[in-house]
């Protein structure tokens, strides 16, 4: 008699492992996720935590780029796509169902050995000047960018592979990735490396690539270009948000750093996720999962956006 009571109590306790939380019915099944590198670290963290609650779910996460994520989902080759850019109307027509899950951003970068670095950090660069660099494609000089006499040319770099970072930076400049000028380098680290090597270079990177994950300071050899938001020609106190990763994520959360180049990151399904495990995963991400966002270097979404997402999932 006592044994069965004890075993009953044990199974009762096992069934409610998370003391104080609403018991989640363990979900079974498998989910395949594919897409942008920008979301990869966050999704991995979420998957790790999710599997603690639902050990019966098999989740496969592959990173191959935002475009691939979208293609895979629309082709039925993945349950969820990690997409680091806004979804095109054509994609929506094909059945894309995006849910915003977190935020991150793209920042402009120069080499730490840039001869005009102190001036850059003091004056910042305005959106109009960024457009001169990346859209008009003319040979610009550092003097033209900083409003001084320097004749040294600016070496502009961009991404060669179709990616969310480039689309977002282009969106900030009012264009699309294909409109961006500059030498195309493959991959985020490739672009960072190209900028690091060339003192006169300018490029852009996802904040997770621009800031060191451990020290939270800009990665060695790279400096972040402040955006002169009000065009005043100087970086004011409220515009000086680039010292550490925490500074910039706070600025993004407060909307001090504009969106774009900050952006929502999405998980996309084809129509409402039919896979029960996938649906539960997304629901969890929009609720309990959000608490893991700041420690992974991303920015949490506003409660309204989260509620909106949950409502759409019903």
């Amino acid at each position: 008699m006592r044994k069965s009571i004890i075993s009953l109590m044990i199974s009762f306790l096992l069934f409610f492992p998370l003391f104080g939380q609403a018991p989640a019915k363990p979900v079974q099944g498998s989910v395949s996720i594919s897409g942008a590198w920008a979301l990869y670290p966050m999704v991995l963290k979420w998957v790790e935590e999710f599997k603690k609650i639902h050990p019966g779910v098999k989740i496969d996460v592959q990173a191959g780029g935002a475009g691939k994520g979208m293609s895979d989902v629309l082709a039925g080759m993945a349950d969820l796509g990690m997409v680091s850019r806004d979804v095109n109307p054509d994609e929506v027509k094909k059945g894309a169902f995006p849910i915003a899950v977190t935020k991150d951003a793209v920042v402009a970068t120069v080499s730490a050995r840039n001869p005009f670095l102190s001036e850059i950090l003091k004056k910042g660069v305005s959106r109009a000047r960024f457009i001169d660099l990346w859209v008009s494609g003319k040979d610009t000089s550092w003097g033209a960018i900083l409003g001084s006499r320097e004749a040294a040319a600016v070496h502009v770099f961009t991404r060669s592979d179709a990616c969310g970072a480039a689309e977002t930076w282009a969106a900030f400049l009012g264009k699309k990735q294909e409109d961006l000028a500059g030498v195309g380098v493959y991959g985020d680290p490739g672009l960072a490396e190209a900028v690091r090597r060339d003192p006169l270079a300018i490029g852009y990177n996802n904040i997770n690539f621009a800031y060191d994950a451990k020290t939270l300071k800009p990665v060695g050899g790279i400096a972040i270009v402040p955006i002169d938001l009000d065009g005043s020609g100087a970086v004011e106190e409220n515009e000086r948000v680039y010292a550490t990763r925490d500074d910039i994520t706070a600025a993004i959360a407060k909307n001090v750093y504009p969106s774009p180049p900050a952006r929502d990151l999405y998980l996309v399904a084809k129509g409402k996720p039919a896979n029960a495990a996938a649906l539960e995963l997304v629901r969890w991400i929009l609720t309990d999962g959000q608490k893991f966002v700041p420690e992974t270097g991303y920015i949490g979404l506003s409660p309204e956006k989260l509620k909106e997402g949950l409502a759409r999932l019903k």
Partner: protein
């Protein structure tokens, strides 16, 4: 029973022998049918010779990519052909046995290195070399990501192909011919010039043709070092955007943007056609030379 097996085998092999040809045809057909969408938009020549590439605006001009492919392949061959042939001649005619036994495996090993590794190495060493050493030497600016970098990396990848075939060609030249030449007072070099190279001309051309094919067909390694800018390069220090790189960089976008996937399939089709035409041309030249020799 044995005869039956022979007959079955013969029929089976006959069918299988049609496979390569069938494969080429299937590829042509498959790519063509997938390119229909974009061919409906613009004519074949319009696409090939258009110079603007803005897919989201519906502009699909492939000229910059064709030019990019041509430039990079040309530079690669300019470097690879002399170096490979000279090496092959040295190994075949001059080198002491020890050096030859050591170098031949090295050349074959070079052929085995995967293209990703070449690309990675190219970014590490070739790009800075071109950008920081060569370009300033010529008084130009280059980021290093350029036609020249692509050409250098490709050339090294092509060395083993040309050397291998050239060595075979040279070894096929009968010794008596060399001995006769030498006994007439010619130096080794003159023997090479007038006997070995002349006798092996056909084979050498075949080797070069093969090298071009190999250079042309390489995707990944070039992609990482060439700069990927969709503009006609004006010098070897400019970046370029070869066709294979276009496809590899953008395949992920294939389903999202209308006609983009069709355009990329068209790019693949163009590559296939270029290879076909090139091989046809090479075959014709070789046949003509063969006739002259006879």
């Amino acid at each position: 029973m044995r005869r039956l097996k022979d007959l079955i085998a013969r029929r089976a092999m006959l069918v299988l022998a049609a496979v390569p040809g069938l494969l080429v045809f299937l590829m042509l057909f498959g790519l063509l049918s997938r390119s229909k969408a974009i061919l409906a938009l613009k004519s074949f020549t319009g696409l090939l010779f258009g110079s603007a590439w803005h897919p989201l605006k519906g502009e699909f001009g492939f000229l910059p990519f064709l030019a990019g492919t041509l430039w990079v392949t040309l530079v690669a061959m300019v470097i690879a052909v002399p170096v490979s042939l000279l090496t092959a001649v040295y190994l075949s005619e001059y080198a002491p046995r020890v050096i030859r036994e050591f170098t031949k495996p090295v050349v074959d090993l070079l052929a085995g290195i995967p293209s990703v590794v070449y690309g990675v190495w190219g970014v590490l060493m070739v790009v800075p070399f071109v950008g920081n050493v060569l370009a300033p030497l010529f008084g130009v600016y280059s980021s290093g990501y350029s036609v020249l970098s692509g050409g250098i990396v490709l050339a090294i990848m092509v060395f083993p192909t040309i050397i291998h075939v050239a060595l075979e060609v040279f070894s096929a030249v009968p010794h008596e011919l060399r001995e006769t030449s030498l006994s007439l007072g010619a130096t080794t070099w003159e023997t090479v010039k007038h006997v070995v190279l002349r006798k092996g001309l056909q084979g050498i051309i075949a080797a070069v043709v093969l090298g071009v094919s190999r250079a042309f067909g390489e995707t990944m390694a070039v992609l990482m070092v060439v700069g990927n800018v969709a503009r006609l390069p004006k010098s070897v220090f400019d970046p370029a955007y070869p066709l294979p790189a276009l496809i590899a960089n953008n395949y992920g976008e294939m389903m999202s943007v209308p006609r983009y996937d069709s355009a990329l399939m068209f790019a693949a089709l163009v590559l296939l056609l270029v290879v076909l035409v090139f091989n046809l041309g090479a075959r014709l030249i070789l046949v003509r030379i063969e006739r002259k020799v006879e």
